[in-house]
């Protein structure tokens, strides 16, 4: 029998050291799930992010943070106190054979310990080091404190998101939740690291990357910057749809079940579209006057835009549950979607077909849990969660004894001296 092994991930063979808090752990997950041997280095006692909920069964504990679990899959974990001489010595030894170091410490911190890129690369010229920090290594804000909400404010996300005055008077700008500032920073940092890795395959040398989350967020508002640069426009927030220089028709409609549907109609209303729309609305007897031949005249359509959107489309959507509208519309070629809460995704047959949900074993609990899977299917080198997030110092023996050659006795001494 031949030994059929699963294909390795595209980053198999890379050793990556992650010295990251909540700002950089997502970037580490992206690298680890694609096959890199990712070693997460936490301070003794564990990374503070282990205290961020939600927690398994709502019991706060550093090994029960679901946020930490999610963002630290496919990593091994060791503890190391870099503020001790031994800690720095071991870090240097690990850095000597690492391909990439991903770090999120405050600017100047690693340099103050003699662990900056210059010093580490002098013993490993192939080393790539990415510092992913809130504002980058230079500039008047480089030492400012931040949080996800702060980045969504300064990056421009909030200025674009919120409510139309008619829907919610005096509403503040709204920051979408979910930690997306960290996602934005992580995506760009991943790109920069990969570009440096590709370059290294040709040039043989590593390099240093100074990545800024503020800049990543400032880059992630689609055309808002272009609207200002080219037209001097400052955009207004609108309920559930694009910012705009002047009000645009709504795209979010309440369905029969009280949830919403995103239906992009305005701007597409030509005679062909209106014919198809009439057929869609007619499936539930809601076409109204839309089948009237007068709607084959673009001028009539233009004069009746509000009637079509605010009466006919709105009433059709109000007559059915959101999921039914979504599938009826999409199967007829309309780019519409149900505004779903995350719980609706678990039963989504399309995600099921793509093998999206993954069972991840937590052997210390004797249980396994369902995790979200991959953004993209790599047909030649699959994405996979190789292990659940590490327990605190779980791989200390593997790394310090088996790799760096310490004895178990020496390891206990390090633990007693709070080096690990």
């Amino acid at each position: 029998m031949s030994d059929v092994r699963p294909l390795p991930g595209p980053l198999t063979g890379l050793r990556i050291l992650e010295l990251a808090n909540e700002t950089g752990q997502f970037c580490g997950k992206l690298l680890g799930d694609l096959g890199a041997d990712l070693v997460k280095i936490e301070p003794p006692g564990g990374e503070p992010n282990r205290h961020v909920g939600p927690f398994l069964d709502d019991l706060p504990h550093p090994e029960r943070s679901l946020s930490f679990w999610y963002y630290n899959t496919s990593k091994r974990g060791i503890t190391l106190n870099l503020e001790t001489g031994d800690g720095r010595r071991f870090f240097r030894r690990l850095a000597a054979t690492a391909d990439v170091i991903l770090e999120t410490s405050r600017p100047g911190f690693l340099a103050s310990l003699g662990l900056d890129y210059e010093s580490l690369s002098s013993q490993n010229s192939r080393l790539i080091m990415c510092s992913l920090t809130p504002f980058g290594q230079t500039g008047p804000w480089r030492d400012y404190l931040s949080s996800d909400l702060l980045h969504m404010a300064a990056g421009g996300e909030m200025a674009s998101s919120g409510y139309s005055e008619a829907d919610v008077p005096n509403a503040p700008p709204i920051a979408p939740g979910g930690g997306n500032a960290w996602h934005m920073g992580g995506h760009f940092a991943y790109m920069a690291i990969m570009a440096a890795l590709v370059y290294r395959t040709v040039a043989g040398r590593g390099q240093y990357i100074d990545a800024s989350i503020h800049e990543a967020c400032a880059l992630t508002t689609e055309a808002a910057i272009a609207n200002y640069v080219y037209r001097g426009e400052v955009l207004q927030r609108q309920t559930g749809r694009h910012h705009a220089a002047s009000p645009t028709p709504r795209t979010q409609f309440r369905a029969k079940d009280g949830t919403y549907v995103c239906a992009l109609v305005a701007g597409r209303l030509n005679p062909k579209y209106v014919g198809e729309l009439a057929a869609l609305l007619d499936t539930n007897g809601m076409a109204g006057d839309l089948k009237d031949p007068k709607y084959q005249d673009p001028a009539v359509i233009a004069a009746n835009t509000s009637h079509i959107i605010d009466d006919l489309v709105a009433n059709f959507i109000a007559s059915l549950p959101a999921e039914e509208v979504y599938h009826a519309a999409q199967s007829r070629g309309f780019t519409w979607g149900a505004v779903r809460a995350p719980e609706a995704l678990l039963g989504d047959p399309h995600l099921h077909d793509r093998g999206f949900w993954k069972e991840v074993e937590h052997p210390e609990l004797g249980r396994s849990f369902v995790y979200p899977g991959e953004a993209a299917i790599y047909n030649g080198s699959p994405w996979r969660i190789s292990r659940r997030a590490p327990l605190i110092g779980e791989h200390n023996a593997e790394i310090f004894c088996e790799e760096l050659g310490l004895s178990r006795g020496e390891l206990s001494v390090l633990a007693e001296n709070r080096v690990i």
Partner: protein
């Protein structure tokens, strides 16, 4: 600049359009890859309709400001891939390229005869990144998306808003930006893998599916704890927790107060600051910044649990103070005292008023033949050896057809002219821009 480029000698055949695909290849171009954008003027959805053409210019295929920003670092070839001759030219280009990237619906490239099985016959180690709405597999692969639809279906829209109000959602196509990120990430990862192993592959990216992992902690709260997001107090506006609702984590970091947006002087549309205190110490520092008012040290506000319990009153009192300061002034007062605060910034604020972005040269001007000298967004990372930078403005449509067809592929000038006459390089009945006429001289 003679610095080396990370993607020197890498060529990308870019069939993508609108936003997500072009946003992906923009970054590959910034790293130095040669991006050859295949376009067709009758069927173009990134250049037109344009809402970002300067008021002083005519709206046409070459005057969209957003197109310019999204398509710097590229070359444009006009080519009718739906005709046999055009398809043959596309294949010759693919044979000497490294990456093919597109963001059509799931079966379009296959229907053109350019599915992965065909592509690998033309170029065995090609890295093919498809960026469709729902991916190339799965029962809904034929469904289509724009950013807002991907955001809706994946749960991203729902997590933005005030409790008991309709979703506020995202005020732009977040998933066109982020879908673009994933397109570039997939291409770079596939390229790295190819360089190491010699193997190409098809990477099947889905805009809708790639939105789902951005809800990770909420999804684990569901699969592990059984907690649904349709619940009282969720989403909690800008707060970590909505007062008067069960005290649970809402997936935006620690459960703390203050954690909100506050009006600032002079109270115009975008005069807001956000302030967050992660600890009682940070709260004490904010108290000092506010001038140590007595209420800030009253027992109900000294602990985080008290501040959460009396959050409405807390926020009113903070706002009474924040309205006395401008948003940049407030930011500086807070940050210099170790308090987390930043201004809500519009696009104008980012371009004109943000000292950090100015210092980091986030917006630098590039000369565009139709739009003139205009600020373009730069990379959010600085690579010490191979900096990513914008070296070309966006191309005029078909600007590089001759350069690529004659110069790179070696067709004769007569063949080029014949292709223009027979509708391979430009629709025969469509007026041609002067630079196209010049190309045919």
């Amino acid at each position: 600049m003679s610095r080396p480029r990370a993607l020197e000698n890498i060529r990308v055949v870019d069939f993508s359009w609108v936003r997500a695909g072009p946003w992906a290849t923009r970054w590959l171009g910034a790293f130095g890859a040669e991006i050859i954008k295949i376009e067709w003027p009758e069927n173009e959805r990134g250049r037109l309709p344009s809402t970002t053409t300067p008021q002083t210019l005519e709206v046409n295929l070459n005057t969209s400001g957003n197109f310019n920003d999204t398509n710097v670092n590229k070359k444009s070839v006009t080519l009718n891939v739906r005709n046999l001759k055009g398809l043959e030219i596309a294949k010759r280009l693919i044979a000497i390229s490294d990456i093919v990237i597109e963001n059509f619906s799931s079966r379009v490239l296959q229907n053109w005869g350019l599915g992965y099985d065909e592509l690998r016959k033309i170029k065995p180690d090609i890295v093919y990144v498809s960026m469709s709405g729902y991916g190339h597999t799965g029962r809904h692969h034929h469904y289509t998306t724009f950013g807002p639809v991907a955001q809706a279906v994946s749960g991203l829209t729902y997590l933005s808003g005030l409790p008991d109000k309709p979703p506020a959602g995202w005020g732009w196509s977040y998933m066109d930006d982020t879908g673009g990120m994933y397109g570039a990430m997939c291409a770079l990862t596939g390229l790295y893998h190819r360089n190491l192993t010699g193997q190409g592959q098809h990477i099947d990216l889905s805009q809708m599916v790639s939105s789902v992992p951005l809800n990770g902690p909420a999804l684990l709260d569901l699969t592990v704890n059984g907690r649904e997001s349709r619940r009282a107090g969720y989403p909690p506006g800008n707060r970590a927790h909505w007062p008067g609702t069960p005290l649970v984590n809402n997936y935006r970091g620690p459960i703390v107060a203050p954690h909100n947006a506050y009006r600032t002087d002079p109270g115009e549309y975008n005069d807001w600051c956000v302030i967050v205190c992660h600890s009682d110490e940070e709260w004490q520092r904010l108290g000092q910044v506010m001038g140590a008012p007595r209420w800030a040290t009253s027992p109900k506000f000294v602990t985080n649990s008290g501040r959460l319990q009396y959050q409405e009153e807390l926020d009113r009192k903070i706002e009474a103070w924040s309205m006395t300061l401008g948003k940049y002034e407030l930011t500086e007062c807070c940050q210099s005292a170790g308090v987390r605060a930043l201004p809500v910034q519009s696009a104008e604020d980012r371009v004109e008023n943000d000292p950090q972005l100015r210092h980091r040269e986030m917006y630098l001007a590039i000369e565009h033949p139709a739009l003139g000298l205009q600020n373009v967004q730069n990379a959010p990372f600085k690579l010490s050896e191979t900096p990513a930078w914008n070296h070309l403005p966006s191309p005029l449509i078909g600007q590089h057809t001759r350069e690529i067809v004659e110069g790179l592929l070696g067709y004769s000038h007569e063949a080029l002219c014949a292709g223009f006459a027979d509708g391979t390089f430009w629709p025969t009945r469509r007026p041609r821009f002067p630079y196209i006429e010049e190309m045919l001289q």
